[in-house]
Every structure is written in C-alpha cells, then in structure tokens.
C-alpha cells in the first residue's frame, strides 16, 4: 500500500530537493542486497592493490623517502601541477560542454560527424599528440616553414611551458568531459526545459538556468577525470618541457633506479589526487536529477541555432581541426615521407587485432565491475558507498608504471597462474580505468527515478530483473559511453601494457612507442593512424544507433 502511495505522491520539483522516495518503502525493498555490497568492496579492494604496493615500497626506504620528498622542490612542483590542472580542466569544460550540447540538442550541420570526431583525440597517445603539435607549431615547426617564405617569420613564439602544455592537454583530454556530458544530455528529460521555454525564457537563459545545473554531475565527473589525467600524464608534459611530478618519478625509475623513492613520490602524487577527488565530491550537491513523472521516449525539441548556426559550425570545425586534424595531418606527413623513402611493412595488423581484443575485454569487464559501486553510491549514499566510490578513482591518478609494478608485486606472488597473461593485464586495465566507468554510470544513474525500479519490484520482479529491464535501458547511453571511453583509453595505454602484457604480445600502443623511441617516425605514424581509425568504430556505431532511435 505504501508503495502505491509513493508512486502517486507529488514530488517537489527542481534540482535541490532532497526528498527520497525510498523512505516510504518497506525495509525489505530499501536494502540493497549484500552481494552488491560485497561486489563493490571486492572491486574497490582490487583498485587498492597498487596503493598498497606503493606503501610497502615507500615504507622500505624509511626516512630517506621523506628526505627525498623534501629534497625536491616539492612546493614548486606542486604549484606548477596545480596551475596546469586548473587551466586544463577549465579549458576542457569550456570546449566540451558547448560541443556536447551542440551535437545533441541543436541543428548544427553535420552534428553526428562532429560527435564522432570530437571523441577521437582521446585515442591519441599524449606523447604522439605532443610530438605532432611540436612538429606543427613548434618554434621551427611546419607552420613556421610555411610562413617564412611569404612573411619572413623566422621563429614562432615558444610552444613550450605552461601555455603549450595546457593547450595540448586540453585538446587531448576535453573528450572526457564531452563524453560524460553527452551521455547525460542524451537522457535529459525535456519537460523542465520545455517549461522554461513556455515561461518565456530565451534558449540561452534556459541553458544556463535549467540545462546546465542538470549537467553538473556529468561536468564534475568529466572534469575530475581531466584533472587526474593531467596530474598523471608524462608524455605530453615531458615533450612540452613543463615539469610536474611525473618527471621526477620518471627520473627515479629510469635513472636513479630507486623504486622506493619513486613510490614515495607517487604517494605524494596520490595525495594531490585524493584532494582533487574530495574537491569534486564536496562540489556535488545532494540534489535530484530526475523528474517526477517518467517522460521516457519523448521527442526532444531540437534547438534551431538560427544566426548562431555559422559560429557554432566554425567552433566545432576549429576544435576538430586542432585536436584531431593537426595530429592526423602530421602522422600522414610522416607516413608518406616513409613510404616515399621506400619503407614497407608499416602496418602491423596483428598488433591492431591484439589491441582491439584487449580493449574490448577491458571495456566489458570494467563496465560490469563499475556497476555495483555506481549503484550503491547513487542509491545508498552513505559513508561506505561514498568511500568505495571515491576510492575507485585512485588507480586512474597513479602513474601507469606504478600500477604495473604493483600488479607485478602481487601477481608473481599470489597469482602466478595468470602472471604475464592477458587476464592480469585486463585486471590492470580495470584498476586503471574503473573511475572512468564509475563516473559515467553514476551520472547516468542520477537521472533515473528509483521509483521506476521499485514499482517493477512491487509488481513482482526480482531486483536484478528490475534493474536490467527498467534501469539499464535508461542508463544505456551512459553504459555505452563508459565502454567506449575505456576502450579508447585501453587502446592507447602503454606503461602497464609494457610491464604486464604477455611476452611477445604487441599492441598498437607498444608498436608506436618502440618506433617513436628510436625516431622511426614513419613506423610510429602507421600504428598511430590505425589507432585513430580503430577507435572511431565504436563511437560511430553509438552515434548511428542514436540516430535510429531518434
């Protein structure tokens, strides 16, 4: 009876209300099953392994690690890292949110093509991207060469340092925000926006006052990923000559051969990451992001851009031209130069096949592993569930080499059977990319009115059945986006793949690395292009499905 009342109950409207219908449910329906909690704890426990390893290694060095941390100009490096993180995160949000809105809600020309193209920069390894930007826009890059003849430009302003590193990282990492925001926009129920229009608000006011607040969880989740990625990136900042923690950690592993010092420094990095995670969490509001009545499958009004159509088109083209066009152009330039010089056998299809295989496995397993944590943190907000959810982020913020070594440490001792096999490697991908999936699934789940599932259960469905038939269809855009993002990140993952991959296995990312390391540019360009092409497939599939459903 109580259930019926819950369904019929009028809900207070608007984001900000903290009313939960769960309180009206009988206790048996309120509790999430124990198995879900156990699954979530197990997944978070797996994510904790590398941290445990770092703690073991750092403790080993005793006081010398503490000395070392203060030896470095830690405060200065911290300040540099913070500047970069703030700039990259802000820049990514400013590019990604309008782009996501334009490609989902407006009559932007070629919006489906832009949707695919806007995701692809995520597939470009940061060192390849940085190398391409330096080749194109460096002080003596290709652009300078073209300008020298007609205009006598002898040197372009330095790309290196904070400005260059920020710009390149923004262009390579805005897709984190783009994908999360897009998944949320796609499911956003249109009635609040419609109400706003009816009340005479302009489209801009509607976007700012109604749509944007509803996007906050997605923007927060995406921005956190950008910030953590910026913190842990080494390839781009090293080439763009901007010192952050990763350069010091790299030096400890590769030149000082001091694992303990590297571990201690990685823990400092982790502390910064935890602060970022807490900042994002404190910015979250205990708000409701679903509407009272379920307005599923309503046709959404497409916003006519009118005279803004051209500027919007130019904006989308410019982003794609810079973030995707420039790297691809430079890669094609290297490739043709190599082919003209008579190089052959540049395309390694086996490596492409292996990459796709690993990435599909990583995407499926990571999305499944992320579901228990996401569900609990949305449906049962509390100390434990929130703790588990935040904890799942740590893997993403750690240098890949630390995650790799951590799993060597545990794998060779306790999982000898799967050491140096694809199973342990996929496990590493789950640890690394779990938060990507959690962030996306979580912000999608926030859009689902839990009463729908409860109604299904009150009508006799089992909990799992209700979740699969009622909730999953609604969060499908989020699940798909999560799978795609994990797929793209796995395609380009390098340090953990090098350390944990089965012996003799070659992926596109490792082929690119081995070639780029020794200045075989044509041989690095071919797998990089394959990487971009292979990565385009799942996003194209998603966008085409959206069309058929529209």
């Amino acid at each position: 009876m109580k259930v019926t009342r819950a369904i019929g109950e009028q809900l207070p409207q608007g984001a900000g209300a903290t009313w939960t219908p769960r309180r009206l449910l009988p206790p048996s329906l309120r509790r999430e099953p124990l198995s879900l909690w156990l699954a979530a704890i197990a997944v978070a426990g797996a994510a904790a392994l590398p941290v445990l390893y770092l703690a073991v290694r750092a403790a080993e060095s005793g006081e010398s690690a503490v000395d070392l941390i203060f030896d470095f100009d830690t405060v200065a490096i911290l300040w540099r890292s913070i500047q970069l993180i703030v700039l990259v995160t802000l820049g990514s949000v400013l590019i990604a949110v309008p782009l996501a809105w334009l490609t989902v809600r407006t009559d932007l020309p070629f919006r489906r093509a832009w949707a695919v193209a806007s995701v692809l920069p995520l597939a470009i390894p940061s060192y390849v991207g940085a190398l391409a930007f330096i080749s194109a826009f460096g002080p003596k890059g290709l652009l300078q060469g073209w300008l020298e003849g007609p205009f006598g430009v002898e040197r372009l302003p330095d790309l290196y340092g904070l400005t260059g590193a920020s710009v390149v990282l923004i262009l390579l990492s805005y897709p984190y925000v783009f994908l999360t925001v897009r998944a949320t926009l796609w499911r956003l129920e249109p009635e609040m926006e419609e109400a706003s229009w009816t009340l005479g608000r302009s489209p801009w006011q509607t976007f700012r006052r109604v749509t944007l607040p509803l996007l906050y969880p997605a923007i927060g989740a995406g921005a956190l990923l950008v910030a953590l990625y910026t913190l842990s990136d080494f390839g781009a900042v090293a080439l763009l000559q901007y010192d952050t923690f990763t350069r010091v950690i790299f030096n400890e592993y590769n030149n000082a051969f001091n694992r303990s010092a590297a571990a201690a420094l990685s823990l400092v990095l982790l502390a910064v990451a935890v602060s970022l995670i807490l900042i994002e969490a404190s910015a979250r509001r205990r708000a409701r992001y679903y509407s009272g009545a379920n307005a599923a499958r309503r046709r959404r009004r497409i916003v006519r851009l009118g005279r803004w159509r051209l500027p919007a088109f130019i904006f989308s083209s410019l982003v794609t031209l810079l973030a995707l066009g420039i790297p691809v152009f430079v890669l094609v330039y290297w490739l043709t130069r190599g082919i003209n010089a008579g190089e052959s056998g540049l395309f390694d299809w086996d490596a492409a096949y292996t990459s796709v295989q690993y990435s599909v496995a990583a995407a499926v397993v990571t999305v499944i592993a992320a579901i228990p944590i996401s569900v609990l943190s949305v449906r049962r907000p509390g100390l434990l569930s929130t703790g588990l959810e935040r904890f799942s982020y740590v893997g993403f913020a750690m240098p890949g080499i630390a995650v790799g070594l951590g799993l060597v440490f545990f794998g060779i001792r306790y999982a000898t059977g799967i050491y140096q096999t694809v199973y342990l490697l996929v496990f590493a991908y789950v640890v690394l990319f779990l938060p990507v999936a959690v962030g996306l699934i979580r912000s999608s789940l926030l859009q689902v009115n839990p009463r729908m599932e409860e109604a299904a259960m009150s009508l006799g469905r089992s909990r799992i059945n209700a979740f699969l038939t009622v909730t999953v269809p609604v969060i499908r855009p989020g699940l798909a986006a999560a799978a795609i993002m994990v797929f793209l990140l796995t395609m380009k993952e390098l340090p953990a793949t090098l350390i944990l991959g089965p012996i003799e296995s070659r992926t596109l990312a490792t082929s690119i690395w081995t070639a780029a390391e020794e200045a075989f540019f044509a041989r690095a360009a071919a797998p990089s292009l394959l990487l971009v092409i292979a990565s385009a497939a799942p996003m194209t599939f998603l966008v085409l499905r959206e069309r058929s459903r529209n």
């Binding site: 002080p139 130069r337 006799g460």
Partner: protein, 357 residues
C-alpha cells in the same frame, strides 16, 4: 509492456551479457592456448630442453628485433622477448625477485644492469674476454654489447664545425646563451656527467653545469627531441648520443640540417658508453642464455650493430660504419664504464644546480 515480454527482455539482456562474456573468455583462452602450444608445458616450469629463452630487453624492438630473429634462425632457440624501458624492466626484475621467469636482461645502459646486480650470475671468462676491459663489469657480472659515443649535434645552417669549441668547456661561454639543447633526465647524459665527476672532479663538474644552466638551455625529454630541435633550428647545438642522428638522416633525408661534431679535444664530452647484457640467477636455461650472449658478441651481430644501428662494435675484427670516426681517434677519456654506475651523487649534483627538479 507486459510482465512476460519484459521478463523476456531481462532474460535476453542477461543472456546477451553472458554470451558476450563467454565469447570473450573463449577468445582470450584461445589466444593463450596458442601461446601455450609454443610455450610447452607450463609457462616457466622447465626449459631444460634448451629451446626457449626469455629475454627482458630494454633495447627497443625496432633496433634489436631483427637481430633476435636472426639468432632464432641460427640456433633454433625460441627467444621470447619482453620489450620495455630499461628502468621499467629493472624495477620489474627487482619486484619479481627469485620468481622471475627471465633468463637474460639486455639493458640500454650499465646503470640498469648495476641496479639489479644482486640478481645476476657471473659470466664465463671466455665470454667476457671478447670485449675490452673498459666495456664490462669488473666482477664479470655483465658484458658490454655495443658502444655509443657522446657527441655534440649542431645545426648546419647556423654553424660550421669551426664555430664549435674543442671540448665541452667551451659551451659555458655566454655566447652560447639560448643556443643549447640538453636532456638532463636522459640516462646517457647523466652517465656523461658521472664521467665528468670522475675525470674533472666535483667542483669543476659543478662549475660546468652551472655555466650551462646560466646559458639558459632548452630542456628536452630525451635524445631524439633534442636532435629534432637541432635539425629544425630551434636550438643550434645539442648534447646527445651519436647514433640517433643516423635515424634522422634515414628518415628525413640528407637535407636534415644537423650533423654530429666529435669534440677534437676529447674529454667526458666524447665518452663512449655501452649497452650490456647479463644472465639472471633465476635462469633455468643458462646454456641458451650463454648462446644468446655469445651470439650478440659474434661477428654477425656486431656487424649488425655497426651497419644497421650505427653503433660501435666492441669485439676485435669488426669495423664500424664508414660514417663514424675511428674509436681511437675519439679521444675517449680513460674511464671504466662500470664506474659510471655511481648515480646518486650525479643526481644530487644535477638537482643542486637546478638541472633536475
């Protein structure tokens, strides 16, 4: 939607998920089965039949891959190579400890070998006797495989050899301000600085480093970006290893506007560094491991290094590529490369002068 159809839908979703998972597991299992066929029983249980060798290679596949293929052809041994950075592999070996599946560690520099020295077993005198004394570990624990010289790469449009100083000292002159590129996080660069400390002593090395820092050098991530920047004219000179330039010439053609300048005055700026290899204590296949090291020091392999990767061969009777100056004419300072493993003091010095964060 009725309960029946939606139950059906739920079942379909579950089945699809299960199906997908099964396909995945099968796909992975099949691919690892393929491996097991080659691996023989167990992944690293017993290779006493002497047909399989696990190599951890810090040297890139693009350089040594073809050589390892030739080794497999010549000996019938199935070499399985784990390629990664020397630092990452050294750390992996240390984490694996006595459980390591590896037989051989082929490292980019003596520092990497030095860091795992307690994990390796001594090599035979015969093997180690193939290279000169300066190119091996004094305790017979590792052997040098190929040599690379430190050198100065310069932009040919901005400079000609006459403009360049005789020794590294010359670059502290303020006239080089804003014209130098270097890579302080590069292992070979740090080895050169260690060489300076051994030959010049701490104070003179510090003075030199401070002099360069005062000249506001561009800081690159490693050798290859330094050479790319020198070729494009972003900087006029760079302190690098000699052999990367030949990759650039092969890739970009003879028009690439950078060349190596071997310091006529010698000194630490033209130190010859070595790559090296060692056999791990955990190796259950020492015979095959030794055959691999013998192969690397054979005329065939040493000629490969000379001709294909433009490195200096280390055994007697193999000459280097025509492009390279005579090893003797390099005025290589008299230092033992194994002494270049004293890393901590070099790191401290680089940090002190602000070259490292």
């Amino acid at each position: 939607m009725t309960i029946e159809t939606s139950n059906l839908l739920a079942r379909r979703t579950v089945l699809m998920a299960l199906g997908l998972a099964t396909v995945l597991v099968l796909a992975i299992a099949c691919s690892s089965d393929d491996q097991n066929e080659n691996d023989g029983p167990g992944r690293w249980s017993s290779y006493s039949d002497g047909i399989e060798l696990i190599i951890y290679s810090g040297r890139s596949e693009s350089l040594v891959g073809p050589l390892i293929d030739k080794f497999e052809e010549a000996t019938g041994i199935d070499a399985k190579v784990n390629y990664a950075g020397t630092g990452a592999l050294a750390a992996t070996l240390l984490e694996e400890g006595d459980r390591s599946p590896a037989d051989v560690f082929f490292a980019q520099d003596p520092g990497g070998l030095g860091s795992i020295i307690e994990l390796v077993k001594p090599l035979s005198d015969d093997l180690i006797g193939r290279v000169p004394d300066w190119a091996r570990s004094p305790d017979n624990l590792w052997v040098g495989i190929s040599g690379r010289a430190r050198t100065v790469v310069y932009n040919t449009e901005a400079l000609s050899p006459e403009d360049l100083p005789d020794t590294m000292d010359g670059f502290t002159d303020p006239k080089w301000k804003g014209r130098i590129g270097w890579a302080p996080t590069n292992g070979s660069f740090q080895a050169m600085v260690t060489g300076m400390r051994l030959i010049w002593g701490e104070d003179r090395t510090r003075d030199w480093l401070e002099g360069i820092v005062a000249n506001d050098p561009s800081v690159y991530a490693k050798n290859t970006p330094t050479i790319a920047a020198t070729g494009s004219g972003e900087v006029e000179v760079g302190f690098v290893n000699h052999y990367y330039l030949h990759r650039f010439l092969a890739e970009e053609g003879e028009g690439f506007a950078a060349r190596n300048y071997f310091l006529p005055g010698g000194g630490p700026g033209s130190a010859v560094l070595v790559t090296g290899a060692a056999i791990l204590k955990t190796s259950d296949n020492v015979t095959a491991a030794e055959r691999f090291l013998y192969y690397l020091l054979s005329t065939e392999a040493q000629s490969y290094f000379a001709e294909e990767t433009y490195e200096y061969p280390l055994i007697a009777g193999v000459s280097w590529a025509d492009l390279l100056p005579d090893l003797a004419s390099l005025n290589t300072p008299d230092i033992d490369v194994s002494d270049l493993g004293d890393l901590a003091a070099t790191q401290n010095l680089l940090r002190e002068v602000g070259a490292l964060p």
